[in-house]
Symmetry: C2
Subunit: 394 residues, 2 copies
Amino acid sequence: MKIINLDHISLNPLLPEVKDAMITAINTEYGNPSSMHSLGEKAAQELEAARETVAELIGAVPREVVFTSGGTESINHAIKGAVLANSDKGKHIVTSNIEHNAVIKSLKRLKSMGYNVTSVPVDQYGRVNPDDIASSITDETVLVSIMHSNNEIGTIQPIEEIGKITRQKKVLFHTDAVDSVGIVPINVSKLGVDLLSFASNPFYGPTGVGGLYIRRGTKMYPLLDGGVQENNRRAGTENLIGIIGMKAAAKIAISDMEKRIAHYKKLKEKIKSDIPNYIDEYVINGHPEYSLPNLFSVSIKYIEGESILLMLDDENIAVSTRSACATGSLRTSHVLISIGTSYADAQGTLVLTFGLENTEEDITTFLTALKGVVKTLRDMSPLYKKEHGNGIKS
Amino acid sequence: MKIINLDHISLNPLLPEVKDAMITAINTEYGNPSSMHSLGEKAAQELEAARETVAELIGAVPREVVFTSGGTESINHAIKGAVLANSDKGKHIVTSNIEHNAVIKSLKRLKSMGYNVTSVPVDQYGRVNPDDIASSITDETVLVSIMHSNNEIGTIQPIEEIGKITRQKKVLFHTDAVDSVGIVPINVSKLGVDLLSFASNPFYGPTGVGGLYIRRGTKMYPLLDGGVQENNRRAGTENLIGIIGMKAAAKIAISDMEKRIAHYKKLKEKIKSDIPNYIDEYVINGHPEYSLPNLFSVSIKYIEGESILLMLDDENIAVSTRSACATGSLRTSHVLISIGTSYADAQGTLVLTFGLENTEEDITTFLTALKGVVKTLRDMSPLYKKEHGNGIKS
């Protein structure tokens, strides 16, 4: 049974090269990178080789990369570690209204400990205005945390411009780049960030592995206190097999990035141009230009995204209504509300994320299925009937 | 080249069954356990199956087990999560003088935030006196954290007795059981603990995976804030491949525990009875009865453990001077100092940890090599010459 996966943000199959690297690692007797005898040396070498490749992916120096258990740990580490280590300077943080839950909840935790947070709005495309960041920074501000790209609508923020402001104002700058690293070009120096969080699975590496870029000289507390691993910045025996998988994925992400972006763009263009031939009364979310090439978000009026998802699932098409991290939480997406989507329209939102194996035919199959699903659901929708008079389109 | 591994605490090779399970997981297209469509269901099922097996290993209900990135994360989560969530009750914590660095440094972090810590001493065998815990608890105490077994000397603490005290005094009780779970029988109910940290690699699972037992009803903050994974107790997409490896390791740990303990005990008995035939002037560390069966610690007078380690490494024998987590930190072991070892003797300490593949012959090979190494090093030791008159034993 072939499944058309249009939910790569929550399910990226491992690349064959990643599988091979991990299986080889499993079958190799590595030691503990921290132990002194020669059994540990091989492991330490592998770890540093992985650090070099991963650093190259984000334009960093290897020593500035700390391996973590994934994007969530990186984000928690970046935010809590930077804020707690620099609280002598002040207790104020600046962020945006459309951040990922890991950012929002890390900041909420700090708020409960007496810190203050200013959250700046975004425009109808989900973009932050750098001037709003500049005017929010006070003498008490220790950190600005703005995501690189949004996982629900794909909008990419003006990180470089914000980086200029934070440098000029001497405030630490973190960007959650979990949905960007390995997908679009990222260079920490060009962006001007001090901290950058990323994970391995968005670029076809394993889940449960990620990294945190910490610019040299940045005063930080570890999130995980304990042993001296990762140059005293993250305690705990490393997930070497996972890290080796991330290295393999990073290597290919570097070499194939241009080709992949072209592929994603083709699919996104196709869906954008074809969708009017299949359904009506929808809104495409996100910025038309500054946006992830592999993500397409659409709000379909009068019906519920979760019903669409389940009906498409019956036709072996996997899509998402929003990030998998928020599943189980039934609240309306704060991202959609922030860009001005109505509560009703937000309910009907689908997020598609493309992968390497997707074809233009997949898009056509999806749109064809979507047309039927939308019709079925609207036929049952009291809201639709109310607006359109008994379901018959005028 | 055959290497005799007597440093299983830092290097536990994966069991064939663990490798197989992980490789199968790598080659299976699992979804994201948190996504709604059917691709995610298989992953969610695997995750819950692993939780059941791991819960069985520690006598817990599956829902009480949270998967983490390893022992260090579990310990940080347990300590910081419990203390910060219950600080309305008070700001005092009780611990012992011989805890692992992950405990010590987590508590140090809390101290820097205004919390107070009472650290109780241990006897010459490294055992805490439960009466000392009882008398240290005040109305302000929110947490008692005492390790189950010590990773340098093997001593097992009277956790059950301490558990009775903490229950009676209504104080949360955490035990760092990283070096016990999967090695010796552990039952959270019998121990009377509220929180118990463990990792997968001590019982032949992969590194970078662990778990935290949280008794139902325990008020806790997550260490990793963000998504709703792990019933809202630990955000972040799960390391499913690693967790499946831990499950395979846990299954065999449950079935083979008795057999393994008998094997370890045989090796430990042999080394204890044979060592006087090879070297003199040494002290065996740890409790003669309440001790890990797979760990043997000895302090050899007049010479340095790291020199012994490196010379044994040349003979393809891997040992440890202390836990791998502390490598790179050159301070004298706080554990040895706490049991009354002199600074000089502490330098000459070796920690052996046995594994399944070790044989009685390995012990003889080790002791034979050790004899030569000790002679060579003592011949060069000014300290030895001073005590023994030019190196010639009186």
